[in-house]
Amino acid sequence: MTREEIYVKLNEVFQDVFDDEDIVVNDDTTADDIEDWDSLEHINLIVAVERAFGIKFSMGETTSMKNVGAMVDIISERI
């Protein structure tokens, strides 16, 4: 899967989790950029991403990803 293909799928996950069809994420997107992406929603998002790509993030990765780019790096390593 190319990085572009990962982003297509990832955008769907974000739109579904945060109930917002307009969300488009990129490498630099952080929790500050999406209104509902707070500490309470973070794990919902992580679990949804894990399911969509059939991978697992370690707890270390779950709490230390700096931005969506870091998330995509891990996804592309695993699939």
Binding site: L40, I43, I46, V47, S58, M59, G60, T63
Partner: protein
């Protein structure tokens, strides 16, 4: 050794001198004897406990961080190390608080005198235990490489300024901070000294004075009713904040003298507009720690993911996805309350009551969304109302926290509405009230200056105002030192020897 004592200042001065006399390369190793001496001041058993936790977590880190080991084996090692250290923590702290285990543990450890527990408990076992357990989990989760040098790990685990009261540090951050080169700088000395003096000011002038009111009112709310109860409850909020944040100022200031940066633990907490924001401003490092090591792992665990799936089917996506969050919150807040002392008054006052505030707020959120435009929630009066409301809710929790037990807290709340029993003496003279009032105004002004509406923004630093202004620097230091010497409460009849958080 209390962090607000003459002995501690002499100890810090001695460490400071030896630290900077030694060549840069070996400076960090001065902390080895410094940490041991600090621990031993609290009793040889205390040092033994600290060392035991450090050794077990060091080995635990090496084993759980092995790349070639099977995940199941690593999980087992981590579980054994964590359970062992928690058992040690529970035995010493909570059962010690209840006075139930002293004899048994004494027999177990072969201690001849019954006094070791009294020394071990004030060291606030849980701060360093939690920090060390965090390190093992970091190794297990591949967040950090296991430390192979025991001396370096020992310095991290027993770093004396944080040992009694935090703040909670992460291994990768603090160990890197300790290991880098430390040079003597005027900026560090200036900032460190002001910070330490400010901590003494808060503790000895504000917290100790407010404590007199607190002890009187909480001691007998048969006499102190109505307005006195309100005064006592307010005074405890002031006492606890001045005490705990003052302690952090000393810890951060001492570290600054050693050119070691420590994380901030408070960010104008009483100006928070919601309970969630309050916990991002109060005891920040504990909140961050528990989010990373308890709350997130819980939410990501298979049972809670399953609960989420079921609840989404039953209640719909929007409501259903909140259910696992509520479950994790109840577990998290019970743990926070338990951590504060293992008694119901802490579990309610510092835990479940706050959980109730947050969860009920989340459930009522759709309603709030509708009425927000009507209330003009973006205007200043409404924001001030939110600050006041949050503070009152926090005060309610503090009543449970400080009262003797839960029934006592309920009686105390009832006493607010009881008829006044006439004039009651608090034990503070008019001069004390004036000193307390003025000091409180200074504290409020400092917190207001630091305050940024967004809690993730870096707070403004008051100390930075003294940068490049030697006259102002000296004026501030002389004012703080003179104030503490003249108005500090540390004479006979007052026991300013321990911080509230360091002693429970």
């Amino acid at each position: 050794m209390s962090l607000v004592s003459f002995n501690f200042l002499i100890f810090v001065a001695a460490v400071f001198a030896v630290y900077y006399i030694c060549p840069v390369r070996i400076r960090q190793y001065v902390l080895v004897p410094a940490n041991i001496v600090f621990c031993c001041f609290a009793g040889i058993y205390t040092f033994a406990f600290v060392l035991l936790s450090i050794v077990t977590t060091f080995i635990g880190g090496l084993l759980t961080g092995r790349k070639d080991a099977k995940p199941a084996a690593k999980n087992t090692v981590a579980a054994v190390v964590i359970i062992f250290n928690f058992a040690l923590l529970c035995a010493v702290k909570f059962y010690g608080v209840m006075g139930m285990v002293e004899e048994q543990l004494n027999a177990l450890l072969g201690a001849s005198s019954g006094s070791w527990l009294a020394f071990a408990v004030p060291l606030g076992m849980s701060f360093y235990t939690l920090q060390l357990i965090g390190y093992v989990l970091d190794c297990l989760w591949g967040k950090t490489e296991p430390e192979k040098n025991f001396i370096k790990y020992f310095i991290f685990g027993s770093y004396f300024p944080y040992l009694t009261s935090g703040p909670m540090n992460r291994y990768d951050v603090l160990s890197a901070e300790i290991a880098r080169e430390h040079r003597l700088s005027l900026a560090n000395i200036r900032t460190g000294i002001i910070r330490i003096c400010w901590g003494f000011f808060k503790k000895l002038i504000i917290a100790e004075r407010a404590g007199v009111i607190v002890n009187a009112v909480y001691g007998d709310h048969g006499i102190y009713t109505g307005g006195y109860v309100v005064l006592g409850v307010f005074a405890f909020a002031i006492q606890l904040y001045a005490d705990f944040s003052g302690c952090m100022d000393v810890v951060i200031g001492v570290s600054q003298l050693l050119d070691i940066r420590m994380p901030e633990n408070f960010n104008s907490p009483y100006f928070a507009r919601s309970i969630r924001e309050y916990w991002r401003r109060w005891h920040i490092t504990l909140g961050d720690y528990l989010a990373d090591y308890l709350y997130y792992p819980l939410l990501k665990s298979a049972p809670l993911v399953k609960i989420g799936d079921v609840s989404k089917k039953a209640l719909g996506k929007k409501k259903g996805k909140k259910v696992p969050i509520y479950v994790a919150m109840i577990i998290l807040w019970t743990a926070i309350g338990y951590w504060h002392g293992g008694l119901w008054k802490y579990i309610i006052g510092s835990g479940l009551l706050h959980c109730f505030y947050i969860v009920s707020g989340m459930i009522a959120e759709p309603l709030f969304e509708k009425i927000r435009p009507v209330l003009k929630s973006d205007k200043l009066p409404y924001k001030l109302f939110q600050v006041l409301r949050t503070f009152v809710l926090v005060l309610l929790g503090f009543v449970f926290f400080r009262a003797a037990d839960v029934p006592d807290a309920v009686r105390m709340l009832g006493a607010v509405f009881a008829a006044p029993a006439g004039e009651a003496a608090i034990g503070l003279g008019m001069a004390d009230y004036i000193v307390l009032g003025v000091a409180l105004l200074i504290l409020t002004a400092v917190d207001l200056y630091k305050f940024r509406p967004k809690d993730t923004d870096e707070p403004r630093s008051v100390i930075k105002l003294t940068e490049g202004r030697p006259v102002l620097t000296w004026l501030v230091i002389v004012f703080l030192v003179a104030s503490v010497l003249v108005w500090g409460m540390y004479g006979l009849g007052y026991n300013a020897s321990s911080f509230i958080y360091a002693s429970i």
